[in-house]
Each structure stands twice: as structure tokens, then as C-alpha cells.
């Protein structure tokens, strides 16, 4: 499989970014729910949020890479049997995904840093705060984080159901193309 996309197929870069981020998003969502339920006296009380933040920062780095890659390389055209509305809806959902991942990062960042504390990932890598506010920014950020998170997972379910519908009902190559097929 070539690294780069062509007009007819996805390349290795796009495909691996897609699947790594797909797993990452599910993992982030699950760990996010887990954090909400963790008991203060749990051994994992500090560990799970730490890994959630660390992986989250990696995810946004991958997201930026994905955007750059998409905007600077050929993007395969949709399969010709796709209906016009499917082409439009799938594009809209993709871009909402991208925006929502960036929103997850911004809101997550402010939950931690709104009062001036840095965001610390991977043990001791410190990402500095850019504000120090007593205006309850962390609460607003928390709501954005929660609703963006549910929005992403909702869209991911729609996205997956649509892929399965193309594979099993329409019997086209939509899903297989994301595994490198022509």
C-alpha cells in the first residue's frame, strides 16, 4: 500500500491515522467516563486522568497531522455509486469530527489550566497555562468537554453504522477502502 492517497484509494498514512484515532477516541471516551466514576480513594484516581490527558495530547497532535495531510495531499473521490446526499453528509460529519476533536482538546486543556496550573502529561512534560482566571472557566470547559465527547461518540456510531450499511446492504467498497482496497 502506498503511503500517499491517490484519486482512487486511501494511502497508508490516511488509513493508519484513521484507525489509530478511531481506537484513541473510543479509549478517550471510555476513560473519560471512568474518571467521572473514580472514587477519591481509588489507587487509580491519579493514574487514569493522567493517561487520559497524555493520550489526549497525542490525539490532538495526530489530528493536526491529519488535517495537514488531508489539506496538502490528494483526497480520494467518493465511490461513484454513493448518492449525492451521502457524499454531502459524510463530508459534513468528517469535518464536524475534526472540529469536535479540537474542541475536546481546547476544553480539556482549560479544565486543567483555567486557574494557572500547567497541564502535565507523560509524567513530567509540562504544557503551560495561558490564562489564570477565577471566572469558573473550568466549569464552562467541563460542559464543552462533556457535550463534545458525547457528540463525537454519537457521530462515530452513525459513521460506523453508515460504513456497515455500505458494506452489507449496498455491497460497495466504502468500508474496504479504509483497509486499503481500491
Amino acid at each position: 500500500m502506498p503511503l500517499k492517497n491517490t484519486a482512487a484509494r486511501f494511502g497508508a498514512m490516511t488509513i493508519s491515522l484513521h484507525w489509530v484515532m478511531a481506537m484513541g477516541i473510543v479509549g478517550m471516551f471510555a476513560s473519560g467516563l471512568w474518571i467521572e466514576r473514580l472514587d477519591y480513594y481509588s489507587e487509580l484516581y491519579q493514574i487514569v486522568p493522567h493517561w487520559h490527558k497524555s493520550i489526549g495530547v497525542v490525539m490532538v497532535a495526530l489530528m493536526l497531522m491529519r488535517l495537514l495531510w488531508r489539506l496538502s495531499h490528494v483526497y480520494p473521490s467518493a465511490i461513484s455509486t454513493h448518492k449525492p446526499y451521502e457524499k454531502i453528509v459524510s463530508k459534513i460529519i468528517q469535518w464536524i469530527f475534526y472540529a469536535a476533536v479540537l474542541s475536546m482538546f481546547a476544553s480539556g486543556y482549560f479544565i486543567t489550566t483555567a486557574k494557572g496550573q500547567p497541564l502535565i502529561i507523560f509524567g513530567d512534560v509540562s504544557i503551560p497555562a495561558i490564562i489564570s482566571s477565577s471566572a469558573n472557566i473550568e466549569d464552562i470547559a467541563g460542559s464543552v468537554h462533556k457535550y463534545s465527547g458525547f457528540a463525537i461518540i454519537g457521530l462515530a456510531v452513525l459513521h460506523a453504522l453508515a460504513a456497515l450499511k455500505h458494506h452489507f446492504i449496498d455491497k460497495d467498497k466504502t468500508l474496504l477502502r479504509m483497509f486499503g482496497h481500491h
Binding site: F110, T112, A114, K115
Partner: protein
Amino acid sequence: MFKKLGLTVLAAASFGLAQPTLAKPETYLIDTKGAHAFVQFRIKHLGYSWLYGHFDDFSGSFTFDEENPSSNSITVDLDMASVDSNHAERDKHIRDEKYLNVEKYTKAKFVSKAYKKTGDKTAELTGALTLFGQTHDITIDVEHIGGGRDPWGGHRQGFEGRATIKPAKWGNDLTKVLGPATEEVELMLTVEGIRQ
């Protein structure tokens, strides 16, 4: 609120000012605008140290009668979401429904009922504290710090109060989620009022 005329004269004399005799209760607006008032608390973390925090949004007023201190009174309203312990994650967390549940219990309120002098500068202030939707009486140990003319044409009086409460009494037993050391919360209240 709470002191003898002699002290006022003394305080006034220390400013080199003459203070007229004050005959009736005066109303003082708590100077939250100038942040000369603080609602602070401390609670034990794991039983190993004290964690300090404060509520930033509150307002109120008190009456002050030098001749008849037992008529002194105070009312304070406080916005629970304004809790601040200088750490964004923790503040978001303790506003959560598991802890202070500030979306449901948005306000706290204190309305005094009785004021009893216990010394020249000290008093016991009893009143109703509404917290987590329930109202129970508490007693605050009060110290009158000072009062008199301020340099900008007004009159001020200032007090400190301390009280220890058990949130479980208001139906919110923090020990269930934060451990046995969190049974008690100490309140440290500072008010400076500007005479209206």
C-alpha cells in the same frame, strides 16, 4: 456591630477625630466591591493537612448599635458556585453533584438571630445557616476588629467570625466520598461594612 462606646471613642481618638455618640442602629453594607470581606474555609485533606478555600461571590449587610449591641444583626447571601481553592480541576470537581452540588444548591444564606457579647471585643452570634437546601442554627465566635471613619469620607466597622460546622447536619456527609477527616469544616469569615 458589637462593641462599647468607649472603644469607639478610643478608636476615633487614635485617628485624632471626634466621633459623635451613635444613638440608633446603623446599617452597614458589606464591602465585597472593594474585597474587604472574605468567606474562607478550611477542611482536612486525608487528615494530613489543611486545605484552604474561599467563596468569591457573596453580599450582605449588617446593623450595628453601640448602645444596644444585642440588636446587632447580619444577613449574608452566597453563591455556592463561586467556591475557589486555587486549582481549576479541584474546583470543578467539588462543585460536582457528588460534593457541593452547586447546580442544585446554588445559594447559601446566613441570617442572624441573636447576638451576645462575651467580652470587650468578642461576641457569640447565633443564626440560621441555609446550606444544601436545609437550614440549621450555628454559632459564630465573633471578634470586633475595629471601626470608625475611613480616609475617604465614610464610616466602617469590621469583624471576624469563626465557626466549625459538620456538613452532614445539612444532609451532605462529605466523609462518604472524601474520608473521615472531612467531617468538619472550619469557616473563617471577615466582613468590613460601609455605613449607609
